[in-house]
């Protein structure tokens, strides 16, 4: 019986490791193989303080966690700009260097490590037997689980998922993904440090073997098995992985000694990792899976939608689309000129090596109007959007939004100031539901702030409810309300464009840059999409569209800029532009050469 209690204690420790790694890997998408190394920092620090300086157990563990957090924060800084392969390599290097450093210092036990850590004492009570540890470990595991769950399933967690899937799109909605990356590294490495302090206290050892690369892989495997972003799955995974070995040893079918059992266990979960990737790359339990909901019989809304059902059209309330019919082109042009200028672009220039993307570009966007940007291929239209929103820094020029200079600001700052964009390739977060996607667009959510999640919980929860309501309104506006719980990945291209529009509207930004709003949409309801864009304008927003389909431009635009090789060479109504011979030549090339 004692043996099983021993294993239970180990399960609880690995729950802390796995649940914290899941927050880092599963929610935030940061592939780290250094988790055990952070545990090592915690374990070694605790052991050193207890042995050399006679500290009490709990303070030593806490300091170990703090040390791990500091190192984790430092590691996060280069990690900010590295892609997945490099991040794996970075965390691998950190892992090896950490263990390397520990084995070098004699005061840390050299190659043998710290052995003979005295038995832990909590409030005077000695934890002599494995069963003494159950309660403290259970408390720790539950606390860490609840912390991770609170963070993961909140607005903060939503941004983490956005960061995981598409950092640029997430930045374009005003979220400072770098800050999130650093905070999640810091928190999870602190938790790993805590787990290390507990582990070394339990084993009374802190050695390179305990925190080897193999241990990191074991933790990694638990998270992958249990499911990305599925904390309960990590708990189950910890049980499975820790208990496989003793169960294998004791099963009645094949005679296995302890060593063989341990090896076979590892072979099994190595192979299972491979099989799992082939069959279900997202892990055994899908994201967002909850045991309670499964037991209650709720099934997930249609996840196997391949394309739109025949004849599907967005379910829009006609009342929200009632617009006064647009006047003549000349009338709209006049209104455009009369409306105040919201975005003023002057002298915008950018070169990429020999290629001129923008050259002394001057543009104005007027409040409550739709301005279009057209031009032949290679004219640089999408680059202009990138320049305006801070994704690319211009070589020269100024962009003023309601008087505030935007050049030099990051994309998330630009978004928060009121200029947001949509993407040509849409970029909604595939593993978030439509509603969650739209919620990601809402600004200033209390729950996005990790601290406020904990010291202002009621406000965070109330804010989350409000965010959900507002997001739902926008989803209804674009006619996708019935798809609220459907994951983004299950939508057709056109449907995802509607959700992206809702998301951009949810930011309540003054100025919206829409990149090809009508392309790729089924001809059956493309007019509805155009109606939506017009309705947006009538709500008082300022819209700028890039389009290649001149019929769409003719229908929507109050004023059109014609762009060629990085410069605005003409502007006016579509009729004016298309009647120009010179423009025809620029667009179509020389027309008469026999």
């Amino acid at each position: 019986m004692e043996i099983w209690i021993n294993y239970l204690d180990q399960v609880l420790i690995f729950v802390v490791f796995a649940v914290s790694l899941n927050l880092l890997l599963g929610y935030a998408g940061q592939v780290s193989v250094a988790h055990a190394a952070f545990g090592a920092i915690g374990g070694y620090a605790m052991g050193y303080l207890v042995i050399e300086h006679g500290w009490n157990y709990i303070p030593a563990v806490l300091l170990g966690a703090l040390a791990a957090m500091i190192v984790g924060t430092v590691v996060a800084l280069p990690a900010l700009r590295l892609s997945v392969e490099f991040l794996i390599l970075l965390t691998l290097a950190v892992s090896l260097v950490t263990i390397g450093i520990f084995t070098t210092f004699p005061v840390l036990g050299g190659t043998y490590g710290l052995i003979g850590i005295p038995q832990a004492q909590i409030f005077g009570y000695e934890l002599a037997e494995p069963r003494d540890w159950i309660l403290p470990l259970l408390i720790a595991a539950v606390i860490i689980y609840l912390l991770c769950r609170r963070m993961g399933e909140s607005a903060y967690g939503r941004v983490l998922k956005g960061l995981r899937e598409d950092p640029d799109a997430t930045r374009s909605l005003g979220k400072n993904v770098f800050a999130y990356k650093v905070s999640v590294f810091a928190v999870t490495s602190a938790m790993a440090g805590l787990a290390g302090g507990l582990y070394s206290g339990y084993l009374q050892l802190a050695t390179p073997g305990v925190y080897s690369f193999d241990t990191s892989l074991k933790i990694f495997a638990i998270v992958i098995f249990g499911g990305i972003a599925n904390l309960m799955g990590s708990v189950l995974g910890a049980f499975v992985v820790v208990l496989t070995e003793p169960i294998l040893e004791r099963q009645p079918f094949i005679d296995l000694d302890a060593r063989d059992a341990s090896l076979i266990q590892l072979v099994i979960y190595g192979l299972l990792l491979v099989v799992l990737m082939m069959l279900r790359p997202q892990g055994l339990l899908p994201e967002g899976f909850s045991i309670w909901r499964w037991l209650k019989g709720e099934r997930r809304a249609g996840t196997r939608v391949e394309m739109e059902a025949e004849g599907w059209v967005p379910d829009i309330d006609p009342a929200s689309l009632v617009v006064t019919p647009g006047g003549s082109e000349e009338a709209r042009e006049r209104e455009w000129h009369e409306a105040p200028v919201v975005l003023e672009v002057r002298g915008l220039s950018k070169r990429f090596g020999g290629i001129v993307a923008a050259q002394e570009l001057d543009m104005d966007l007027h409040r409550g109007t739709i301005t279009a940007l057209v031009g032949p291929n290679g004219a640089g239209k999408t680059t202009v959007f990138n320049l305006l929103t801070g994704f690319i820094r211009p070589d020269a020029g100024s962009v003023r939004l309601n008087g505030t200079e935007l050049v030099g600001k990051s994309p998330e700052q630009v978004a928060r100031l009121g200029l947001v964009r949509s993407f040509q390739d849409v970029r909604i977060v595939p593993r978030l539901s439509c509603l969650q996607n739209v919620m990601l667009g809402v600004q200033d959510q209390t729950g996005e702030h990790m601290g406020k999640l904990f010291y202002a919980p009621r406000k965070s929860d109330a804010d989350e409810r409000r965010t959900r309501e507002r997001a739902m309104e926008w989803l209804q506006f674009v006619g996708m309300a019935e798809f609220a719980d459907v994951p983004g990945a299950a939508l057709s291209f056109g449907q995802s464009k509607l959700v992206a529009l809702a998301r951009v509207l949810a930011t309540e930004a003054d100025v919206l840059l829409l990149d090809e709003p009508a392309s790729g949409i089924d001809t059956k309801w493309v007019d509805t999409m155009l109606d939506l864009v017009e309705a947006v304008k009538h709500q008082g927003r300022t819209v700028c569209i890039v389009e290649h389909n001149l019929h769409v431009v003719g229908r929507l635009a109050d004023h059109t800029y014609f762009m060629e090789l990085g410069m605005i060479t003409a502007q006016g109504t579509i009729a004016e532009l298309t009647s120009s011979e010179r423009l025809a030549e620029a667009y179509f090339g020389t027309s008469t050469r026999a």
Binding site: V31, L77, P78, A79, L80, R81, L82, S83, V84, E85, F86, I88, L89, L90, L92, A93, V94, L96, V97, G100, I101, T103, T104, G110, T111, D168, F213, L217, F220, A221, I224, D260, L263, I264, L266, V267, I268, Y269, G270, L271, L272, L273, V274, L276, M277, M278, P281, P430
Partner: protein, 309 residues
């Protein structure tokens, strides 16, 4: 203080050691860089193909009774088949299925293969070290420098293999096709190059190089289940430092440089630190890379241009 420890004999010996180790690091780096550069797959299981090459040769020689050289050759070939099978039966189906998350899925699968493989090795062959006996070991002295005959042959064979690969890449159709696939995979497909075939070939070459390195290691030292991990980490380091767009010769020389660094740091640091020193260099490199302009990264690692960096 520093220069007190420096005398010409020590430096020469360290240089020799560096070249000997560097030949192995370089060879492994070339193989790994080729695979990573052309296919974009983070083939962590490279380590287990290294280990299994050694175990296959050992089994053929010790259990089956083949003479040493055929056993070695067949052992390396068997490992090569294994490496190619990983691409064919695991990585490729996974890449097709997993789409956008393919990179992580392949890494995890590779990890799984490594874990499973190294433990299977222990199950079948035991955890003790095995000895491969080939030709007689002899010490060679060139002036102040001492090494053994295996060292000399391993360096020569490594250089020869790398030169052959470099020539292949430069002068043959296959080499051009491999470079084309690495540099512009979409265009390669458009002109009818089968990326499928190229990937298999590249895995074969890479694994063959690993097997060769494993042989020389086994001869000089011994064969144990964990032998693959450390060399392959050095392979990663070398491949990333040299950049996967580099020619085989440049990657190889980077390997030698890394080994020399490891050796020279022992002048100032105790032996315990030298290994860590290499990883510290890697760490510093990655940190610098993180703050370098993207252009530089993309020029060194063109496969990243295919994905979001």
């Amino acid at each position: 203080m520093i220069f007190g420890a420096l005398d010409i004999e020590t430096v020469s010996q360290l240089t020799a050691n560096g070249i000997i180790n560097g030949a192995a690091y370089g060879l492994l780096g070339v193989g790994f860089a080729l695979i990573l550069g052309v296919t974009g797959r983070f083939h962590f299981a490279y380590s287990i193909t290294y280990t299994l090459a050694a175990y296959f040769m050992f089994t053929l020689w010790d259990r089956v009774g083949l003479p040493i050289w055929p056993a070695v050759l067949l052992g390396i070939l068997a490992a090569t088949v294994l490496g190619v099978s990983m691409e064919q039966y695991v990585y490729r189906p996974l890449a097709v299925r997993a789409g956008a998350t393919a990179l992580l899925a392949i890494f995890v699968a590779s990890l799984g293969l490594t874990i499973a493989g190294s433990n299977l090795v222990q199950l079948f062959w035991g955890s003790e070290n095995q000895i491969l006996e080939g030709p007689q070991q002899e010490v060679i002295n060139w002036g102040d420098v001492a090494f053994i005959n295996f060292d000399l042959w391993s360096v020569i064979s490594a250089v020869v293999l790398v030169l052959i690969l470099a020539a292949l890449m430069r002068y043959t159709d296959l080499g051009r096709q491999i470079k084309a696939t690495r540099v512009n995979p979409e265009l390669a497909e458009i002109i009818g190059i089968s990326s499928h075939r190229i990937y298999l070939i590249v895995f074969a070459i890479g694994t063959f190089l690993a097997g060769s390195a494993a042989f020389w290691y086994s001869l000089k030292f011994s064969i144990d289940p964990a032998m693959g991990l450390r060399p392959v980490i050095f392979a990663f380091v070398v491949a990333f430092l040299a950049g996967t767009a580099s020619s085989p010769i440049r990657v190889f020389l980077t390997g030698v440089a890394v080994a020399l660094l490891e050796q020279y740091t022992s002048i100032w640091l105790s032996v315990r630190w030298t290994q860590t020193a290499v990883f510290v260099v890697l760490l510093v490199y990655l940190v610098v890379l993180a703050f370098e302009p993207r252009r530089v990264i993309l020029s060194m690692f063109p496969q990243l241009a295919r994905e979001k960096v």
